[in-house]
């Protein structure tokens, strides 16, 4: 099967109309020496019933577990309406809205999305999405180089407290264009970036400073001071934020005296399932003055020939299909359907629902950390304030503990050893509003067991 509807009579009539004897004759321009007879290595077809059985078995192997991992992807409640609407064929099977008159649904939705994201981050304009949070940081860095006309250095300061995967993606994606990412250390006691770390750059030409709020440890950076430091030296500020946190935390547009210049982040917490890492979506907002340097699609409201309001893609001259080698980015396909889901999710949440979600997630994490650190040999790694995620230190290696927890059906957090060996046995944990007091107790008791077993082993 190939979802091909042709009958034999159809094929015969079509071949006759073309004037050839067989379908095979249509491939006469392909050099014979290159032709293959069969696709070795591809299995025989399954019908839908067989396929359903296969996939259900695979899913069951993965199972369901109690998850306390965050680290850039968060388990939040997703209303049933979100994906029931987003998977409607009219959204799901439409193309990019290039034919505006036949795509007003998608276009209006994107305009609503842009409005919501601009407001959430307290910036003036938003694009229609990038691939994910990490690649969005790379794009923001490239954009900062274009937007900061006073800087020639292409040097971007990135705190080590920014998610290590984000830092690696930024280097992989933007490094080929001569950008230099220079890492700033974090303070041992708070896990945050001290202003003292910036002193050696006092007199240097810096293009942009990246600030993650909260940072990878959940820690809250001194965003006002860092922002003002950067602006005093004509560097732009690239903010990396969790959109749910912005229901409670100061939006980047209000950081310091002037606010951040470019804001990016991972949109997954807004109604997107964890799904082993994707598809998610990256968001990006900025000031109006930088809009022509922003990558990705942008929707604008205008009028039609009768003067009625309508929506269309705009500022397309920035994009690859027009500017080709001089485009702001090579991005073409983005994460449209994820944005559809996020816009529906944000509508259902509203400001109050999002605030309750952020507050509940934060409260659950505090309860979790209190419960875990009540155990002997378990402590908070850092002392400063956090948002809905925290690092706990153990007095035994983390990896075997996590494995023992997993065997009990608990995914206990993210082992920081690989990326931050200087922290010793450190575990990043997160509880969202989806966790109950009983879940937290279950984790604490299991951890107590595992620690006892590890110490006696």
């Amino acid at each position: 099967m190939a979802f091909v509807p042709h009958t034999r009579a159809d094929v015969a009539a079509m071949l006759e109309s073309i004037g050839v004897e067989s379908i095979e004759a249509l491939f006469e321009e392909i050099p014979a020496a290159l032709r293959i007879s069969a696709l070795e290595g591809v299995p025989e077809a399954l019908n839908e019933m067989q396929l359903a059985r296969l996939m259900s078995a695979r899913a069951q192997r993965d199972g369901r577990h109690l998850c306390f991992i965050g680290a850039g992807a968060y388990e939040h409640h997703i209303p049933a309406a979100v994906w029931a609407l987003a998977t409607r064929g009219e959204f799901y099977s439409a193309y990019t809205p290039y034919q505006a008159e036949a795509s007003q649904g998608t276009l209006q939705l994107l305009y609503e999305y842009q409005t919501m994201m601009a407001s959430l981050t307290a910036m003036e304009v938003s694009n229609a999405s990038l691939y994910d949070g990490a690649s969005a940081l790379a794009e923001a860095s490239l954009m900062a180089v274009r937007a900061n006309r006073r800087s020639r250095s292409k040097r971007i300061l990135v705190p080590c407290s920014v998610h290590p995967h984000y830092r690696r993606a930024a280097v992989a994606i933007a490094g080929n264009q001569g950008l230099a990412f220079e890492e700033l250390p974090f303070a041992d006691d708070t896990g945050c970036t001290p202003v003292a770390a910036l002193q050696r750059y006092e007199r240097e030409d810096i293009t942009a400073l990246v600030i993650a709020q909260p940072n990878v440890f959940g820690g809250l950076e001194d965003v006002d001071t860092l922002t003002d430091w950067a602006h005093a030296r004509h560097a732009l500020v690239v903010a990396v934020v969790n959109p749910v946190s912005l229901a409670l935390l100061k939006p980047p547009g209000h950081w310091g005296a002037k606010g951040a210049d470019i804001v990016v982040g991972e949109g997954q917490p807004l109604g997107i399932p964890l799904s082993s890492g994707g598809p998610y979506f990256g968001f990006m907002t900025t000031r109006l003055e930088h809009v022509r340097q922003m990558p990705g699609r942008i929707v604008g409201r205008t009028v039609d020939a009768d003067g009625r309001a309508g929506f269309t893609l705009t500022l397309q001259a920035r994009e690859q299909h027009i500017r080709r080698g001089k485009a702001t980015s090579n991005i073409c396909t983005n994460q449209g359907l994820m944005v559809t889901a996020a816009t529906i999710h944000l509508s259902l949440m509203g400001a109050e629902g999002l605030r309750r979600t952020a507050a509940a997630a934060h409260a659950r994490t505090r309860e979790l950390v209190a419960a875990l650190t009540s155990l002997p040999g378990v402590r908070r790694q850092f002392s400063g304030p956090v948002f809905h995620e925290d690092v706990i230190g153990l007095d035994v290696p983390v990896a075997p503990v996590l494995q023992a927890l997993a065997e009990r059906g608990i995914q206990g957090g993210w082992d920081l050893h690989r990326h931050y060996p200087q922290l010793g046995s450190a575990l990043l944990v997160c509880a969202t509003e989806t966790k109950t007091a009983a879940d937290i107790t279950r984790y604490r008791d299991a951890l107590a067991d595992c620690l006892r077993a590890t110490r006696t082993a």
Binding site: L34, L39, A169
Partner: protein
């Protein structure tokens, strides 16, 4: 105040907003101020964000009505050239969205993800088979990112050999805009080569363009002109002899699925658009997925992570396992949910089904081309066989009747047909690039051909009705000059 409501339009979600309303059943219980008392006041938000306060039913109605303003594959024939708008089987969505798959955290233990990893591993194997490549990475999140990965690997390969002179990428003038944009992102200088009158790459010009600075060439085959590059073996020889590598843009793989493989044509790197050839949904602009496949000599440079099988377990290979990797292109491991949909589609097609794809995509394109030619339209390359898509040019109609390709495209909407791709490739004036795909029936193609013939007749008799189209859509033609000059990118509440 007007009592009548314009049923073609839908108000903004913000127009429904009433302070104090909300989909409260979806929210957690209030936590109280004490729950967030530890957050320093100086770091907290003062004004709530501008989000709508609407009920669940209002939300459902609003977005359902918005959806109804769209054309989509599920509602209309959508022959958008270069985009492969084939049917997206419902099973691909349903079984990729099984609760266990959706709930799995990307950093969860591999032991608790053997099911999904097995699917991804088998997907890598199948992509190797259909492209003729030796190794695959699934992480690129769209075609453009796959292109980036491919070209970055070419760079890494030359550098690893100490071959630092090479800084030029050759791109035919017919290439997708993403090709030169990608080459620029990789820090290359782009050099364009022309195509000849029959649409093939000008081999003499190519031979003159290559040299010790040539890093490689980016090619789509069949090309964006809807033509199979007949001298592909000569192109490969010229570039390889100059020390360059060949990159295959998989945008048009659908045309040749099961017939010929990029690896056999001499390509060293390919990317595949799963949202085209392997039918994952376009979603109104994404998400896509652009896995890359490589010949053995480029395997060490693949972007991470990559799925491997060790003994009977599946695991991710990271930077530690592939130290020469071009690195990470996403926070985690790419668009896994999209990869699962493509996996399901490929398993349902199987070996024989995949061979049918190339057959019937090509049959449909050539049939529609024959019908449109007979109806009085001009093929851009009348002496060539169409691949899975073809170009007609309205240069004659534009000159004689004052009706442009864009006008015909807009008038098609009134006939319930989504417009083909317009004004691409840039090389052909007043062009429509038409790709019917294999999942459309003869009847659907016939309906489209009849609509095109009617528009042509109308263009001769009543051209202003064509140039002012569409007439039956939710909006008429939009003022895109105003959109770009008087930027209105976000809604603002009345003061």
């Amino acid at each position: 105040m007007s009592i009548e409501r314009d049923n073609r339009l839908e108000p903004l979600i913000f127009d429904y907003s009433v302070p104090g309303r909300g989909a409260e059943d979806q929210w957690p219980a209030p936590s109280g101020d004490a729950a967030v008392a530890d957050l320093p006041a100086a770091l907290c938000r003062e004004q709530p964000p501008l989000l709508p306060a609407v009920s669940e039913l209002e939300t459902v109605r609003h977005f359902t009505r918005l959806s109804q303003l769209n054309f989509a594959i599920d509602t209309n024939f959508y022959p958008l050239g270069s985009c492969t708008m084939k049917y997206n089987p419902k099973a691909c969505n349903q079984y990729a969205m099984l609760p266990e798959f959706l709930a799995r955290h990307p950093l969860a233990p591999e032991a608790q993800g053997q099911g999904v990893l097995e699917c991804l591993f088998e997907l890598q194997e199948m992509l190797k088979a259909v492209t003729g490549m030796q190794a695959v990475s699934l992480t690129p999140m769209a075609g453009a990112q796959g292109e980036f990965a491919g070209v970055a690997m070419i760079r890494a390969y030359h550098r690893a050999r100490g071959d630092l002179e090479r800084n030029e990428i050759i791109v035919p003038e017919t290439a997708h805009g993403t090709n030169p944009a990608t080459a620029t992102m990789c820090g290359w200088v782009v050099r364009e080569v022309p195509v000849d009158a029959e649409g093939d790459v000008d081999v003499a010009a190519l031979a003159a363009a290559v040299g010790p600075k040539t890093a490689g060439i980016m090619l789509t085959n069949p090309s964006t002109l809807g033509l199979f590059e007949r001298r592909i073996e000569a192109v490969a020889r010229i570039v390889h002899d100059a020390g360059g590598l060949l990159y295959y843009d998989g945008a048009n793989l659908n045309a040749i699925l099961g017939k010929v493989r990029p690896g056999d044509m001499g390509f060293d790197v390919v990317h595949v658009n799963l949202h085209k050839t392997f039918s994952t949904p376009h979603g109104g602009g994404g998400p896509g997925a652009g896995p890359v496949g490589v010949a053995a000599r480029l395997a060490p440079f693949l972007p991470v992570p990559v799925v491997a099988r060790r003994d009977d377990r599946y695991c991710w290979l990271t930077e530690d396992d592939l130290p020469q990797s071009i690195g990470r292109l996403s926070a985690f491991c790419g668009n896994v949910g999209v990869l699962l949909r493509a996996y399901i589609y490929m398993r349902m097609l199987g070996r024989d089904g995949m061979a049918k794809v190339g057959d019937y995509a090509t049959l449909n394109a050539n049939y529609l081309l024959a019908r449109l030619t007979r109806a009085g339209f001009d093929a851009a390359y009348p002496r060539r066989r169409a691949s899975h898509e073809f170009i007609i040019t309205l240069k004659r109609q534009a000159r004689d009747l004052g009706v442009s390709a864009m006008d015909v495209a807009k008038r098609l909407l009134d006939h319930g047909q989504h417009a083909p791709t317009t004004y691409f490739p840039l090389l052909v004036p007043e062009c429509l690039l038409i790709e019917p795909t294999e999942t459309e029936s003869k009847a659907a193609l016939d309906t489209f051909a009849v609509a095109m013939a009617q528009i042509l007749a109308e263009a001769a008799q009543e051209p202003e009705h064509v140039t002012s189209a569409p007439h039956t859509m939710p909006v008429r033609r939009l003022d895109d000059v105003r959109a770009a000059k008087q930027l209105d990118l976000t809604w603002k509440p009345a003061p």
